[in-house]
């Protein structure tokens, strides 16, 4: 069963408080240890930490024609910051891993089961 650990965190702003290089480095190390643990347990599928949402381009055709706009769909203080996709047998196992996610010290993690996943060239329902 695939689960996405969807990570939301406050975004940094120009002119706002910035973490020091040491703080950044430390969080990168903690994240890397975490990813290593997922990998060694054989449950790792993918991890993406995202660029700030200002660098997002939003694409929609909801209004009929294609609209491509720079910027996020909805700007909020906390934004989607990253996604870890893991393959574990149960929601409890996904939660056990989520407990250890280092980013929960400054953000929030949503644990969401996949409804359907595209794996090796085809859609696989959960």
């Amino acid at each position: 069963m695939r689960y996405s650990l969807v990570f939301h965190a406050p975004e940094l702003h120009d002119g706002g408080p910035q973490p020091s290089p040491e703080v950044m480095e430390e969080m990168q190390r903690l994240m890397s240890d975490y990813a290593d643990a997922l990998y060694s347990a054989g449950v790792f599928i993918a991890a993406e930490m995202l660029e700030p949402q200002q660098k997002t381009t939003t694409v929609t055709r909801r209004g009929g024609s294609v609209v491509i706009e720079d910027g996020p769909f909805a700007a909020t203080k906390e934004a989607l910051a990253g996604v870890f996709v893991i393959d574990v047998e149960s929601r409890d196992a996904a939660l056990a891993w989520a407990e250890r996610f280092p980013g929960t010290n400054y953000g929030v993690l949503e644990v969401r089961a996949a409804a359907v996943s595209y794996i090796e060239g085809r859609w696989v329902p959960a």
Binding site: V23, A37, S40, D92, A96, Y106
Partner: protein
């Protein structure tokens, strides 16, 4: 310049008790230390360096208090104030005074009040252990973060918030009432235990290796400050006995080694002896609480491993007492393991079934909102024990199912590898 482990907390407690400003006291003592290193290099170390540091730090705080009083109580008068600040306190921070500075060791020990302030109900429980390590032990935010495997920024933010809160709500610890502190003791003990171990929802509590020396010290300090309090000794005994086994928890190859398979020769004899002393003090106090019981359980297990035979009925009685006094899921699972040793694996399994079943029927076997049927089912130790007991009854399929579930819930690589090995041995009938 090494300040003894005792001195930091003593000096902070003395200075901060005046206004509840722990951060201010820490800053003052840190700069006093810096000044000391500089001044002593030229003039030599004074006879009583700790008294010197105390006096310098206190003078720095007095300057702050005086200027704060001036700001709030007097109208600014350039005639009086302008340029006069130097003459009012002529560099007092660098001149501790001609009289011999008092040895902080000779002054009243306010560290119990300081511990009480750190464990104050207005302080977030997760911040309490951090505060103690900072205020009483003099650890920097960076050291605490490294020791507790937390990000530095998180520790810094929690410490700042907690110290502001203590100063803001006037959690003063001047003129303490001893009975107020007695009420606070369980919270102080909980916070020290929090510095020692981290509780997970899905897994057993895990010791925080990085702050173990400081936690041992804090537990001894509390027992020393409250010599007749049984639970303070119980906590000290528990922490010392658990820490004594740290060296044996992992094999040379880094594999997880369960208690029963540990080599008692690697256990730390000094820590065991101290733990046993504290256990004796628990007995003398005539009062045994949760920590005292847990410590007694530890010592029984340890002497069992050492002698090759364990007093299981005695262990069951202790577990029953813990269950009555401080029910927990971890405790209930351990109790099931003891029952399996006395009445056989089937009895242990029945106990686990009852644990799940009764909570499923809405009657939690263990009180508290934390134990729902889902929680029992998601708790890794339940499945590790199930797997072990099914292996013993020879039910390979059930054992395999339980191993799978236990492994899936295990995030620690060493423990995972251990369970995988056991599962493999079970499969291949070894």
């Amino acid at each position: 310049m090494a300040l003894s482990q005792d001195s930091w907390g003593r000096i902070i407690a003395l200075i901060a008790s005046a206004d509840g400003d722990i951060a201010g006291a820490e800053d003052a003592l840190s700069s006093a230390l810096e000044t000391g290193v500089r001044v002593w290099r030229e003039q030599g170390v004074p006879a009583n360096p700790e008294g010197w540091l105390y006096r310098v730090a206190l003078n720095a705080r007095r300057d702050v208090w005086k200027s704060a009083a001036t700001r709030t109580s007097a109208v600014w008068d350039p005639e009086v104030h302008d340029g006069s600040s130097d003459s009012v306190h002529p560099g007092s921070a660098l001149h501790p005074g001609s009289a011999d500075p008092p040895d902080p060791g000779a002054l009243p020990d306010r560290r119990l009040e300081l511990l009480g302030a750190c464990a104050h109900p207005d302080i977030d429980p997760p911040a309490r252990p951090l505060l103690m390590l900072s205020a009483v032990m003099g650890m920097t935010g960076k050291q605490i973060a490294a020791g507790m495997a937390l990000p530095v920024a998180t520790v810094a933010a929690r410490l700042t918030r907690a110290k502001k809160r203590i100063a803001a709500v006037g959690i003063g610890f001047g003129l303490p009432d001893r009975s107020d502190l007695d009420v606070r003791l369980p919270d102080i003990q909980e916070a020290i235990y929090g510095a020692f171990a981290i509780d997970w929802v899905h897994a057993p509590a895990q010791p925080r290796d990085g702050t173990i020396g400081e936690t041992l010290y804090l537990s001894r300090l509390l027992a020393e400050l409250c010599p007749s309090d049984g639970e303070s000794h119980g906590l000290a005994a528990l922490v010392h006995l658990s820490a004594a086994r740290f060296p044996a928890r992992r094999s040379r190859e880094g594999l997880f080694v369960p208690l029963d398979d540990q080599d008692p020769g690697i256990w730390d004899a000094v820590l065991i002896a101290r733990g046993e002393d504290h256990l004796r003090s628990v007995q003398h106090s005539g009062e045994i609480g949760r920590f005292g019981l847990l410590a007694a359980i530890q010592i029984l297990h340890m002497s069992g491993v050492r002698r090759g035979s364990t007093d299981w009925p005695m262990l069951l009685r202790l577990h029953d007492d813990v269950e009555r006094m401080a029910p927990s899921l971890g405790g209930a699972v351990s109790r099931a393991a003891v029952i399996a040793e006395i009445d056989g694996p089937e009895a242990g399994l029945a106990q686990l079934d009852a644990l799940e079943g009764s909570s499923r029927r809405g009657r939690p076997p263990v009180e508290g909102p934390a134990v729902s049927p889902a929680r029992v089912d998601a708790f890794q130790p339940t499945w590790a024990l199930r797997a072990h007991l099914h292996t013993r009854t020879g039910h390979e399929q059930e054992a395999q199912r339980a191993y799978r579930r236990a492994i899936e819930l295990t995030t620690d690589p060493a423990e995972r590898a251990y369970l995988e090995n056991r599962s493999f041995e079970n499969r291949s009938g070894r």
